[in-house]
């Protein structure tokens, strides 16, 4: 069984370890800021446990929290940054 997962972040293919969170996958792929605040400032994962909602991204078209979601093969992730 493969221990890597292939997914796409903003259209770019990324390979990350299976079992990691989407937030971790984004960081591994080099994304520091994953959304823009109302004033245009960059924001990224903060509370790590589904409370602050800063790490929200679109996963397969639906808004979800990167820290709560686990990666899966073929996932399509879109950031707002």
């Amino acid at each position: 069984m493969s221990t890597d997962v292939r997914l796409r972040v903003d259209g770019v293919e990324v390979v990350v370890p299976a079992g990691c969170s989407v937030a971790a996958a984004l960081r591994l792929a080099g994304h520091v800021s994953t959304r823009r605040a109302l004033d245009g400032g960059g924001r990224g994962a903060c509370c790590g446990m589904g409370v602050c909602f800063e790490c929200r991204v679109r996963i397969n078209g639906v808004e979800r929290l990167g820290c709560l979601a686990r990666v899966a093969d073929g996932m399509e992730i879109v950031c707002d940054a």
Binding site: V32, L38, G44, G48, I59, C67, L68
Partner: protein, 428 residues
């Protein structure tokens, strides 16, 4: 819409929820355990599900595996469509659960406080970065400052170090005298003392500063340095991440939504963990921060009581009393200092979701007033972060939450319900 039916619904699969669900089944009831994380364990037992290294975690997670408790993960409670009818949202769409009795074990979150630069990517909660790392967030080789108050930053620093990070220092806002009294107060709690000694070993060589806190985080697109105050001196430290948390806050939203009485930010319960609302039990951190031992003891009591078995075994009573004393020691010695109220400037963002400035919030009389005037607390997190900060900064009491408790698709509220099925056990 998918719908399940159960006798006892347990919300939250941390230590309290696991103990509650397993104990309810042992006492002869049917229980369904639901959590928004991908697997059981809550924050404290994160990563233990597949590889338990902690003794209590192994014992309870093994008990959960072997019990007939039904489980569902990756589902967040967003509303009650009617009393006894909970609505959850998850990656596979909404789920409704009908229940006769409810045990809320929603745990706690970190208290994050505003200071200039705290919204920069690279600034995390202390426990926040710890759990991110446990789920694969890379920190190897990074320079990290850990700050805040209480035991959690220490545990976080140990995890970060093990993952290969260079922990530059740990800044504890409490003064040396209080820390010494806290250490002396650990004597009646040998388990805690051993934990503290082990942590100290794992953090050997890391600078530990008391009377110290981060005044400012600096950087343009991401964190580049922090300004650390220790007593009268201020030092700039270049770093890649800051992990900062000021203790824990009970997650009382669900209990509040159901009308349960609160006191000092925690749910009021009787000796059977029953809240002020009939049929609703609460256990663990939402009844007051007390740690994992207290959560397990309260979970056992709540599970038995909800299953109709009112007796409280002597060992459980003893555990409850001992952990309550420890919780009191923690509160007394890690009280937050006044200087932390002065860190935010007029322009510092207080409400991270709606970008409400500190000055605009400070001009309001209450959290509710701030909601109406400035939209503070009206965004995605629904005041989970700025509300807890406002309690400390302005003495606000938390406004009563309204449904939905978190952003959720309309299908959670509009789809008709199919016939309820009893839940079958599902592996994580």
């Amino acid at each position: 819409m998918r719908e399940l039916s159960t006798e006892i619904l347990v919300v939250g699969a941390g230590p309290a929820g696991i103990a509650a669900a397993v104990s309810a089944e042992r006492a002869g009831a049917r229980a369904l355990l639901v959590d928004m994380q991908a697997e059981p364990g809550g924050q404290i037992w994160r990563g233990q599900w597949n590889n338990a290294t902690d003794r209590a975690a192994r014992r309870w997670l093994t008990a959960l595996r072997g019990s007939p408790v039904a489980t569902r993960y990756g589902l967040r409670l967003v509303d009650f469509a009617a009393p006894g009818l909970a609505v959850f949202d998850g990656a596979d769409g909404p789920l409704r659960v009908r229940c006769e009795r409810l045990i809320v074990a929603a745990g706690a979150r970190e208290r994050l406080l505003p200071f200039p630069g705290w919204t920069l990517p690279g600034v995390f909660g202390a426990g926040g970065l710890q759990v991110l790392v446990k789920n694969g967030w890379p920190v190897a080789g990074q320079r990290i400052v850990v700050a805040g108050s209480g035991p959690l930053p220490l545990a976080a620093a140990a995890t970060l170090r093990k993952a290969g990070a260079q922990v530059l220092c740990i800044a504890e806002q409490t003064g040396a005298a209080d820390l010494a009294r806290f250490a002396a107060g650990l004597a009646p709690h040998p388990g805690k003392w051993l934990q503290a000694a082990a942590l100290r070993g794992r953090l050997a060589g890391v600078a530990y500063r008391c009377n110290a806190w981060v005044e400012r985080a600096e950087g343009t697109e991401r964190l580049e340095s922090v300004r650390l105050r220790a007593g009268r001196s201020v030092e700039r430290i270049a770093c890649d991440a800051l992990a900062v948390g000021f203790g824990l806050v009970p997650n009382t939203e669900i209990a509040q939504l159901l009308g349960c009485e609160l006191r000092d930010g925690a749910v009021v319960v009787d000796v059977h963990q029953h809240s002020s609302v009939a049929g609703i039990y609460c256990a663990g951190e939402i009844c007051g921060i007390g740690g994992v031992d207290q959560a397990l003891a309260q979970g056992e009591v709540a599970g038995r009581a909800a299953a109709g078995s009112g007796e409280r075994p002597r060992a459980v009573r003893r555990d409850c009393a001992r952990s309550a004393r420890f919780a009191q020691t923690l509160r007394r010695h890690f009280a937050l200092r006044d200087e932390l109220r002065e860190l935010a400037t007029a322009d510092t963002v207080l409400c991270r979701c709606e970008n409400v400035r500190y000055a605009d919030a400070a001009a309001c009389r209450s959290q509710r007033d701030a909601r109406l005037q400035t939209r503070l607390g009206m965004g995605h997190c629904q005041a989970r972060i700025c509300g807890a900060a406002g309690e400390f900064l302005f003495g606000w009491t938390a406004a009563t939450p309204r449904p939905p408790l978190a952003p959720a698709p309309l299908t959670c509220f509009t789809e008709p319900t199919s016939d309820p099925e009893p839940p079958a056990q599902e592996s994580a």
